[in-house]
């Protein structure tokens, strides 16, 4: 009945309907369960109430202030972290000495939980925005670096040789081979970085911020306004989806040669 799931086949509209139906089914079940009292309304407020709360927070402007703070930090961190990860990834990919020198350092720092480093940033940069953005940048840096580096390393030798044969040296090699050749992997890195930054942004706001989605979640928990907590979770989910589609768009725009739909018609 179902066709084999080839990576180059497009999803059918019908499949999209199924995902939507499942989502709504779960929400409807939750609503009924909460209203009927099968589950505690305090811990599982009905979705309709959460939506209402969300509306109230949007109306009062609190939602937009929070969203603004979180997105500001996220954007700055992603830009700085992913940008430097990209540059260093190209450099490490292209230069063997740099790669050998930095590889152990990257291997040691990468698995460290970023939040555990937050106190150090607080000492270095103070309790203002700088320390938060720096931590977010770090969260974006490693996925971007590691994916870009892998992307550069997996460029087929033939392309290096082809370029070298036509006389390409450093800068031309970077612009015409390294950069486009590693781009697919860099975009995977960007996607992971965006996710990572969102997670760390909420966490760091819960820890030490007065504003932002994370701060509001923490406040809602402490005052037991669970409907606000769920409302914020919904917003975070929406932000995640938006980031996903933005990255998708940027990917397509940057890599017209990688566009599978032209192949499949």
């Amino acid at each position: 009945m179902s066709r084999p799931d080839r990576p180059c086949s497009r999803p059918f509209p019908k499949e999209r309907l199924v995902s939507a139906a499942v989502l709504f089914g779960v929400l409807a079940l939750w609503e009924v369960a909460a209203r009927a009292g099968w589950v505690s309304r305090l811990f599982f407020p009905p979705p309709s109430f959460i939506v209402q709360t969300l509306g109230r927070m949007a109306w009062s402007g609190q939602l937009w202030t929070d969203l603004g703070y979180t997105m500001g930090r996220l954007g700055a961190g992603l830009f700085l972290g992913a940008g430097s990860g990209l540059l260093l990834g190209w450099l490490m990919g292209a230069s063997r000495p740099v790669r050998l020198a930095l590889d152990p350092l990257v291997a040691a720092l990468h698995p460290m939980p970023k939040l555990a480093l937050f106190p150090i940033f607080l000492i270095l940069l103070g309790i203002g925005e700088a320390s938060k953005v720096a931590l977010l940048a770090l969260a974006a840096f490693f996925p971007m670096l590691i994916n870009t580096l892998a992307g550069v390393r997996q460029i087929d030798c033939v392309y290096w040789e082809l370029a070298a044969n036509y006389g390409a040296r450093r800068l031309a090699m970077l612009r015409r081979v390294i950069l486009p050749g590693s781009l697919p992997m860099s975009m995977v890195g960007l996607r992971l970085a965006a996710n990572n930054v969102l997670v760390v942004a909420i966490a760091v706001e819960m820890l030490s911020a007065q504003e932002g989605l994370g701060a509001t979640i923490w406040m809602a928990w402490q005052t037991l306004h669970t409907e606000e907590l769920y409302a914020m979770l919904a917003v975070i989910g929406a932000v995640g989806i938006c980031l996903h589609f933005i990255v998708e768009r940027v990917t397509r725009w940057l890599m017209p040669w990688n566009n599978r739909e032209t192949r499949n018609g």
């Binding site: 087929d156 033939v158 392309y159 040789e161 082809l162 370029a163 070298a164 044969n165 036509y166 006389g167 390409a168 031309a172 015409r176 081979v177 486009p180 050749g181 781009l183 890599m255 017209p256 040669w257 032209t262 192949r263």
Partner: protein, 266 residues
């Protein structure tokens, strides 16, 4: 300043090249004392049993790798000649349009954008690819890609052109069409050509001389002069004695292949 509109007549001399690949799994003598000479403007084909070091030889001439022993010389040249390599597959950058691919060599030579795009466009149009200039390689057929790769090399006006089985993946009709294009391009500027092929007939139809290599380690076993005049008839019908030559070369290769098989059997 770039000087690309002319190529210089360039002799190629290959002098006792030896090359051994070593790895933890054993070492392979790919080439042993390979010497030959290609005159300026000559089209030389290289045939030999699989694994005898043809690709290695070509890569060394192109400067993509260096030999253990021996040297490549271009007698009579003060400056390094422009050697261009046509790879068998992956010959185009997948991330550039066909036109940018063909203009790539010109770009590296420092030619301004508008000029090189125009020149690449002309070259592509001449090869019947006018409608595909702004496509990406994956949108083209194998034959079209190969034609574009040949255009990419020729458009830079190389002094020496090295081709490693450029038509291997193509069917017979496509192959003949591209052979014709290739010879026409070559006649225009007459670069010195070294052309690797496993197809004896192709070697005889295209080249002035065919170098037959021995099995591993590769040596030049014999040089066969091709007596046919130009322009060539690529069907081979008008060339007297082509069957004889084919037979002779085939016999040599058969012997080499058999020897190689025997050597690797216990």
């Amino acid at each position: 300043m770039y000087n690309m509109m002319t190529n210089q007549a360039t002799d190629l001399r290959v002098d006792s090249l030896s090359m051994r690949y070593s790895s933890p799994r054993g070492s392979v003598d790919a080439l042993q004392g390979v010497s030959f000479h290609v005159a300026a403007g000559e089209f030389v084909a290289l045939v030999g049993p699989s694994g005898c070091g043809k690709s290695t030889l070509l890569r060394i001439v192109a400067g993509l790798q260096s030999p253990d022993l021996g040297e490549i010389a271009f007698p009579g040249r003060q400056t390094a000649p422009k050697c261009r390599f046509v790879f068998q597959n992956h010959a185009l950058f997948p991330w550039m349009t066909v036109r940018d691919n063909v203009a790539f060599g010109l770009e590296m030579d420092g030619m301004p954008g508008a000029e090189r795009r125009a020149l690449a466009g002309e070259q592509l149009a001449a090869l019947g690819l006018a409608d595909f200039m702004d496509h990406y390689p994956h949108e083209l057929s194998g034959g079209m890609c190969q034609r574009a790769a040949i255009a990419q090399a020729f458009v830079t006006r190389p002094d020496v052109l090295l081709m490693d089985e450029p038509l291997r993946a193509l069917d017979a009709q496509m192959r003949m069409v591209i052979q014709e294009d290739l010879l026409a391009l070559w006649e225009r500027t007459r670069p010195t050509v070294l052309y690797v092929t496993h197809d004896i007939e192709e070697a005889l139809l295209l080249a002035d001389r065919v170098l037959v290599m021995s099995g591993r380690p590769g040596r030049i076993r014999e040089a066969v002069e091709v007596p046919f005049g130009r322009p060539r008839d690529l069907t081979g019908r008008n060339h007297q004695g082509i069957e004889e030559l084919k037979w002779r070369i085939w016999k040599m290769l058969e012997q080499e292949v058999k020897q190689q098989l025997h050597m690797s059997r216990p």
